[in-house]
């Protein structure tokens, strides 16, 4: 009786282990998908980064260069502070857009300009890992893996599509490292993002922990 039950338990155990193994195997074979990327991004609650930007505008002799600091505070505060060539700040928080340049400050309701709202929601959606918000405004294609991904976005809203042809965000783990935009009419902008050392140290551990999290479900 005792041995019979023992055998049965052993058999159960072996079946269970096989099941778990196949599950593990199957999960590691999954492609890197949007919810997963959003999961990685969502872990980064806030961060600050330096950026350099090059804009290629048709009709101008040579690219326009700009550099400055980007910062994001979850869930909805996004600030782009341009330091060169002219100091200028653009910040969005909730539904308020504030522009400061040349010593003047302007405030606008973000949702009164749907094109802008779409752009901002896409950025905020990406940075806060809110896939729904992103997919409301853009068709997305994700390629690569957690250690090097590219997210291609195409606007859905016709008003935005009349201005922006496509956007490409690239990054590693939970960090966005580049934003490229292509506009209708042929202008382009290429932005490289370097996480700040202070914020970066906070951001680095999130990548490996995210990677290990992927294999544990």
């Amino acid at each position: 009786m005792i041995s019979g039950s023992k055998i049965r338990i052993e058999r159960w155990g072996r079946a269970l282990a096989a099941l778990m193994l196949s599950w593990l195997f199957a999960s590691s074979a999954w492609a890197f998908d949007l919810p997963e990327l959003m999961g990685l991004l969502a872990q980064q609650k806030s961060g600050e980064a330096r950026f350099t930007e090059q804009r290629f505008v048709r009709g101008l002799e040579g690219p326009l260069d700009a550099s400055g600091v980007l910062s994001f505070t979850a869930p909805d505060r996004l600030v782009r502070r341009t330091l060169s060539p002219r100091p200028e700040t653009m910040s969005v928080e909730g539904n308020t857009l504030t522009l400061s340049r040349g010593g003047r400050t302007r405030t606008l309701a973000l949702d009164s300009m749907p094109e802008l709202l779409g752009m901002v929601e896409a950025m905020r959606g990406t940075l806060s890992g809110n896939g729904q918000s992103l997919q409301r405004y853009f068709r997305s294609t994700l390629s690569g893996s957690a250690t090097g991904w590219r997210l291609d976005l195409e606007p859905i809203d016709p008003r935005l599509a009349a201005q922006v042809r496509s956007m490409r965000l690239s990054g590693r783990g939970g960090e966005v490292l580049g934003i490229d935009m292509e506009f209708i009419g042929g202008d382009r902008s290429v932005m490289a993002i370097t996480p700040e050392r202070g914020a970066g140290t906070a951001a680095v551990p999130s990548a490996p922990s995210a990677a290990s999290a992927r294999t544990t479900p």
């Binding site: 290629f56 009709g59 101008l60 060539p85 400050t105 405030t107 309701a109 382009r188 902008s189």
Partner: protein, 796 residues
């Protein structure tokens, strides 16, 4: 046999009836030609201070009185609402009934955009000689370049060669309000509800209700047209705003007054039929009522030149009191020993009491006539004229038509029995009622000023649901209402514009600090001529500009050679004539100017700067920022309105107290007995205190119209109290007198009860006070009657 002698002579009959009919006809003719108004400003003081004057001018004829908020709600989806919004807005623009129609569709701003672009060097606020120095040009060009290669770049690129310093963009930024509505599908929508929004300014003045009604009908027509194909799943139309309310109030109060008159007439007719069992008596009883309403309305029309809708609604409350006169007469003139002499007996025994009651009412309402508030004064004139007319009819016309009162008996015996039972039973409850009175007084005193916490809005004839819809639409549109305004005065238009620009500069600093998120000022589209001249003077000649541009664009990817169109435009601008008010006529910008600048009725000009408070807004910092500008005032609309109302309430209190004092003095002079005076006044005071106590216990916020209601309790109740005084003095409590009191009270309570359930807050607040108050006045008069009426049936 003695009839001919006792009854009024034939000639006198003819004269009386003739005079009465003539007066009635004259009154009706006058009313037919009367203008009915409905704006709340009639309830604003006639002699305000400077700030209140601005507010009142604005409420009466300012942009607020011409702005209509339109919501297109529900339906299938946002796309459908956008289609309807565009169609309705287009039809509204085509109708020419509106100065400005905004629905978020920017296509109609195209011409305006071109005009702004052509006049940019006259409009640009920051245009100084420094801006056109080499360094200034370089900064400005860098700012413009920073927008290229961004989502906004495509809009700016075509202008780069002609406007490299981005003046157009800066002007446009200033014209977009900081709190614009949300935009979806290309039109304005609500942030909280499935609703598309349209904001319109009527061409007609807010006081021209017929023209406003036409404009509103046009909106409705356009909406019906746009949604005709949508059958079941189309959206619905909502409209609010002062003009809509004025028209609605006029119609609603008219309708409500008629409705109340009809329902009240039917109920009262049934009561009178029960009491008299005679249709003839019923018709006769209604004559003083009709005469009173006609007389009151005609008198107001004569004195004020127009009748406020609220006064008309109030007219229906008068039915309750004027019908009493007929009831007293019809019952009390009965039972004459010689046929045809009943009216003489009534005239001798009862008329003095009725007359005294009338005089006390008139005294009470006379206080309102002298009120500094036209609306309140109208109520006073209406009441006095109405009561006097009704009493005159009862005294002179009814004796002609029914010399012996009403013949039928109907249910009066039962009424008299009930009345007799009350008269005998109630005095036992005297102590209980006194105790209740003391408790009520304690409660009223304890609540004190808190009891009188209703605000000006409670006087509004606009129903609560419409008020909250209005608040929602205003919130959706981002209209700054009830907030803070900056008002600038000047002796002429240019001086006013210069002061406005000075205020604007100080406010700009607050915007940079974040205290304000923005402000709207007329000088963005109509700068003072001094500023325009200064801007033109800042523009360098072609050669200078060319050489500065060469320096400014060094190292930039924008070569100076590309900027020749810019140099040409600047040269053209130096020859442009100044922008004058007339140049804006017919453009959407004209409506902007009309909203923010106006000629004062008292002379001179004023401009308004409407503020959009920022996160760190502080009224003290705002005042400090504008300190030292003598022509500039900060007006907090909410504070001013509540200050107005407080003053209004205080004045009304004084007037009501004076009225009450006049009533007491009159009674004292007539009764010539402290004991009798006390006996008459006590029940009235207790009735008022108990009514107030009840309101306090039910947590009803009281306002001015409740106060007027209290005055009505005294006016109506004094009749009851005086009859009980008469009963005590004569020692006779005959069935007929008691029955007439019962019936008179019943009709009063019923008519005010009907008003109490009215949809119009102003009317219902009067009804809710007077209906219970009048009942209490009768019961308390009976309860405090010192000499209990002799038991058994009185003399027949």
């Amino acid at each position: 046999m003695t009839r001919a002698a006792a009854a009024p002579g034939r000639r006198r009959v003819a004269l009386t009836l003739g005079l009465w009919l003539l007066a009635l006809l004259a009154g009706a003719t006058l009313i037919a030609r009367t203008h009915f108004s409905a704006d709340l400003s009639a309830f604003l003081p006639a002699s305000p201070d400077a700030r209140q004057q601005i507010l009142i001018e604005q409420l009466q004829s300012g942009i607020a009185s011409r702005t209509i908020f339109i919501g297109i709600e529900g339906g299938r989806d946002a796309a459908q609402r956008a289609v309807v919004s565009r169609a309705v807005a287009r039809a509204m623009r085509d109708s020419r009934l509106f100065d400005l129609v905004q629905n978020g569709d920017t296509s109609d701003w195209k011409d305006t955009g071109t005009w702004v672009f052509d006049h940019r060097y006259l409009l640009a606020a920051g245009l100084t000689p420094e801006r056109f120095s080499a360094a200034g040009l370089r900064d400005a060009i860098l700012d413009s370049l920073s927008m290229l290669g961004t989502p906004a770049g495509n809009a700016l690129k075509p202008l780069l060669d002609r406007d490299p310093t981005g003046e157009t963009q800066r002007i446009a930024e200033g014209l977009i309000p900081a709190s614009s509505p949300r935009s979806e599908e290309g039109v304005w929508v609500s942030r909280t509800a499935p609703r598309a929004l349209i904001l319109a300014t009527t061409h007609a003045a807010g006081s021209d209700l017929d023209a406003i009604a036409l404009a509103i009908a046009r909106v409705q027509g356009a909406f019906d047209e746009a949604t005709r194909e949508m059958a079941g799943d189309g959206p619905s139309l909502e409209m609010t705003g002062a003009p809509v309310f004025s028209v609605q109030s006029r119609d609603q109060i008219k309708g409500e007054a008629i409705h109340l008159a009809v329902v009240g007439g039917i109920v009262m007719g049934a009561l009178l039929l029960l009491a008299f069992a005679s249709p003839r008596a019923l018709v006769i009883a209604l004559l003083p009522v009709a005469t009173g309403v006609v007389g009151g309305t005609a008198a107001v029309s004569l004195v004020f030149g127009e009748v406020h809708g609220l006064t008309m609604g109030f007219g229906s409350t008068l039915i309750g009191e004027t019908v009493d006169y007929a009831i007293y007469y019809l019952i009390q003139a009965r039972g004459a020993a010689v046929a045809g002499t009943g009216w003489q007996r009534w005239r001798d025994i009862h008329w003095p009491t009725v007359r005294l009651g009338l005089l006390t009412s008139v005294c009470g309402f006379a206080a309102l006539v002298f009120s500094g508030f036209p609306g309140l004064a109208q109520l006073g004139v209406f009441s006095i004229a109405g009561l006097v007319a009704a009493a005159l009819v009862a005294r002179f016309v009814l004796p002609v038509l029914a010399p012996d009162g009403a013949t039928g008996m109907g249910m009066r015996r039962q009424m008299a029995q009930l009345a007799g039972f009350l008269v005998r039973g109630l005095p036992r409850l005297r102590w209980l009622l006194s105790g209740l009175g003391v408790a009520a007084l304690a409660l009223v005193l304890w609540q004190g000023g808190y009891l009188w916490r209703a605000n000006l809005g409670a006087m509004s004839p606009v129903p609560k649901a419409m008020q909250s819809l209005d608040a929602e639409l205003r919130e959706d549109v981002g209209a700054s209402d009830g907030g803070t305004l900056v008002v600038v005065h000047g002796s002429d238009m240019q001086a006013t514009l210069r002061s406005t620009e000075a205020a604007g500069q100080r406010l700009e600093a607050l915007v940079d600090k974040g205290d304000l998120s923005g402000f709207e000022t007329v000088t963005r589209v109509l700068p003072s001529e001094a500023s325009q001249a200064a801007r033109i003077a800042s523009l360098p000649d072609a050669a200078t500009l060319r050489s500065r541009l060469a320096e400014a664009t060094q190292g930039l990817p924008l070569p100076a050679a590309r900027l020749e169109p810019f140099i040409a435009d600047v040269q053209a601008a130096r020859a442009l004539p100044m922008i004058r008010r007339a140049d804006l006529a017919g453009t959407p910008l004209d409506a902007v100017v009309g909203a923010l600048m106006f000629e004062r009725t008292a002379g001179g000009w004023s401009t308004l700067i409407s503020l959009h408070p920022g996160a760190s807004f502080d009224p003290a910092r705002l005042a400090a920022a504008l300190d030292g500008l003598p022509d500039v005032q900060v007006v907090n609309v909410g504070d001013e309105l509540s200050g107005l109302y407080k003053r209004y309430l205080r004045d009304a209190f004084v007037q009501v107290m004076l009225g009450a004092l006049a009533v007491v003095v009159l009674l004292a002079a007539w009764l010539r007995s402290g004991r009798r005076l006390l006996a008459v006044c006590l029940p009235l005071v207790v009735a008022v205190v108990l009514t107030l106590g009840g309101m306090a216990a039910l947590h009803v916020p009281l306002g001015i119209l409740h106060l007027v209601g209290l005055l009505l309790i005294v006016a109506v109740g004094s009749n009851y109290a005086l009859f009980f005084d008469q009963l005590r003095e004569t020692g006779r409590a005959d069935e007929d007198t008691l029955a007439s009191l019962m019936l008179a009270n019943l009709t009063t309570v019923v008519s005010f009860g009907l008003i109490a359930i009215s949809d119009i807050p102003a009317l219902s607040s009067i009804g809710r006070v007077v209906a219970p108050g009048a009942l209490l006045a009768l019961l308390l008069s009976a309860a405090f009657a010192r000499t209990a009426a002799p038991s058994g049936s009185g003399p027949r």
